[in-house]
Each structure stands twice: as C-alpha cells, then as structure tokens.
C-alpha cells in the first residue's frame, strides 16, 4: 500500500509477504559499512521481468498475426464509448481485453457490439502488467488478422511504465479535461504513439484551447501523432479508422512477407 495515491495491489502481493515476521526498524540507522563487505554489481533493470514477458507477448501477437493496441487515458475520457463505436464501424475483425479494477460493466458494453471480449479485474491494482495480459490473451484467443484493443485501467500515471507487448500506445484525452494535462502527466504522453483528443463536439461550450493542448503534448513528445474526434457526433472518426486500417495493412504486409519467407 502506498500513501502516494492510496491504492494497493492485492492481485499478486500476498498478505503473508506484507505481514511477514520481523520487527519494525529504521533503515536510516544502518550506515555502518565494514571495509571488507562484499559488493555485487548488478546494473539490472528493475522491470526486466515485465519487459521479458512483454517481449514474449509481442512474439505471440506476431505469431497470431494480431495487432495489439494499448488504450490509455484518465477515467472518464470516453475510452469505452469510443471503442464501442469503433467496433461497430471499423469493419475489421477485432477483439478486446478490458482492464478495470472492478466490475464487468465495460466488458458487457463491448460484448453488446458483438466483439469477443475478456475482462481483467486488477483488484486494487492501478495498471495492467504484461503477465496479466498474457493470461487475458490465452483466454480470449483472438482470431488471426484481428485488431486487439487493450483498454488499460483508467490512469494517466502507472500504465505508462509497463510495456504489455503492444504494437502502439494510444492515449485518449477529452476536452473536458485540462489542456495542460500532457505537461502534468508527461510520462504517459512521452510513451504514447498516438493522441486522440475526444469529445470535440463539446468545444463550443468550453474554454479548452486545443492548439495549446497539442503544443503541450508535442513539447513532451515531438513525434506524437494527434487526431481530434468525437465518439458521440462521429466527427473526426474517419481519420481514426484510417489510422487503424493503415496499422492493420502494415500487419497484413508483414504476415504476407513472413509467408513468402516460409514458402
């Protein structure tokens, strides 16, 4: 558990570990370093295990001929609404892995579109990790040639750190949020490949400065692609679908070249 945001992670952390025997102690007191103490130089990536599983997921997606997209946003940006409409209109095979702390609500909404869906509930966990996704994919068994949308837990901080093995990270920001959000949550916007600015049908009623928002996002990530859309009115969706089709076409090309290589 942490004082930073108040959440804890019970998905893998066992209670026995948290409450293992041992008296409380103050780490600040241990400053005695005998000269002959042995030092082991490690230089090891702390998230190496997650990254290794993410690399396996990436190989698995490639073998399955699936294009995985990690959808990230704060709660309430309209991720699920955008996904529902996209699934109904994209005319490409698609499957969904829903990540939420609790409830099957989003999975039910997705299921109503007819797309295969698996819900991952992280309990108190604030992000998806690569091994959770691997379990979700094993359960979902997405069809070859399909898009796989991974709707991460609504959170603009923690999911930025955990590679899932996706082909691209798509961050969604709605105009009812602050236009300076990319500067407040720079890690997420730096990690993203595409930014979708959603709910633009509400712009006439808001003071949201969309140019300032795009400038803020490009300040932390100059390579970031940006699309403006409304999942409600449909404005701008054509460009989002074109982006998805282009990504899907790349996948098809890679599959064809693999098959030629194998033949």
């Amino acid at each position: 558990m942490c004082t930073t945001c108040g959440c804890s992670d019970q998905s893998r952390l066992t209670v026995t570990r948290m409450h293992a025997p041992g008296a409380a102690h103050d780490h600040g007191q241990h400053h005695h370093h005998p000269r002959d103490a042995q030092t082991l130089r490690l230089e090891q990536d702390i998230l190496g295990k997650n990254d290794a599983i993410a690399a396996r997921n990436r190989d698995d997606f490639s073998a399955r001929q699936v294009l995985a997209l990690n959808l990230l946003s704060a709660p309430g940006s309209g991720k699920t609404s955008l996904l529902e409409r996209t699934l109904r209109e994209i005319e490409l095979p698609a499957a969904v892995i829903e990540g939420d702390q609790h409830s099957l609500n989003d999975a039910r909404r997705i299921r109503a579109t007819g797309a295969p869906v698996v819900q991952l509930n992280t309990g108190a966990g604030c992000h998806l990790e690569a091994d959770m996704l691997a379990h979700g994919v094993a359960e979902l068994q997405p069809a070859a040639g399909s898009l796989l949308f991974i709707e991460n837990v609504g959170n603009l901080v923690c999911p930025a750190l955990f590679d899932l093995g996706e082909a691209a990270k798509v961050v969604i920001l709605s105009v009812t949020e602050g236009e300076d959000k990319p500067l407040k949550y720079p890690h997420m916007f730096r990690a993203a490949n595409l930014l979708l600015i959603n709910k633009i049908d509400l712009l006439p009623y808001l003071d949201f400065d969309i140019e300032a928002c795009v400038a803020a996002a490009r300040q932390v990530n100059p390579q970031l692609s940006v699309l403006q859309l409304s999942a409600r009115s449909g404005e701008g969706l054509a460009a989002w679908y074109a982006w998805l089709r282009a990504q899907h076409a790349e996948l098809a090309k890679a599959v064809a070249s693999d098959q030629r290589g194998a033949a």
Partner: protein, 112 residues
C-alpha cells in the same frame, strides 16, 4: 500505485541474488523521467523487505537527471519532466538519460 510493483520486483531480484545472505546496502538508480517517486519506493521498501535478506538493508536511491540530444543541431540539453526544447528552437530530440530504473548494486553484511 506502481512503486509497489516496482519495489516488489526489486525485492525479488535482490533476494534471488542474495540467496539468503543478509544485505547491508541496496543501491538503485531512478531517472527523473521514469515516473517513479523515490519517497514512495522507500515507503514500500520498509513494508516489503520484512522477512527477506533485505530486512536490515539501507536503501540508497540515486536520481538521474533527464538529458536529451537535439535532433536538429546535435546539442545536448537538460530535459526536465515537463519537457524542454533545444536552444536552437527544434522540438526534435532523443533522450539520452533520465528513464533509468535499475538495481545498481548490493552490498552484503560482513560474514563472521
């Protein structure tokens, strides 16, 4: 709260290398662009280290500043978390440092 996941990984990796030997000092390197808070790591360490070879260990965290190289003129410049641009005005850059998240070293207690 990702610091808990991060620290759980630290404890797992360090415990594996310690193989039961008590650790006296554990040093981590955390980049200022890594999205991980050292204070939160210290907090999680105090809880998670209990009952492991790291129970008595001092946790040291060195923070690494963000550094970027300009894609236009090649100059290196400081990259704070909120982003920055090169003095030449270009927004194109490549990160050289600041995203580290590493266990640097373990120091074991002296064996009697």
């Amino acid at each position: 709260m990702h610091e808990l996941s991060v620290m759980r990984n630290v404890i797992d990796i360090a415990s594996e290398h310690a193989a039961g030997r008590p650790v006296q000092r554990l040093q981590l390197a955390v980049g200022r662009l890594s999205c991980v808070m050292p204070r939160a790591l210290h907090f999680c360490f105090d809880s998670l280290a209990r009952g492991t070879p790291l129970e008595q260990a001092e946790l040291q965290i060195s923070e690494i500043d963000g550094l970027a190289r300009c894609g236009a003129c090649g100059a290196e410049f400081a990259m704070p978390a909120g982003g920055a641009r090169c003095d030449c005005g270009s927004l194109d850059f490549q990160l050289l440092a600041g995203e580290e998240l590493k266990i640097v070293e373990l120091e074991f207690q002296e064996e009697n």
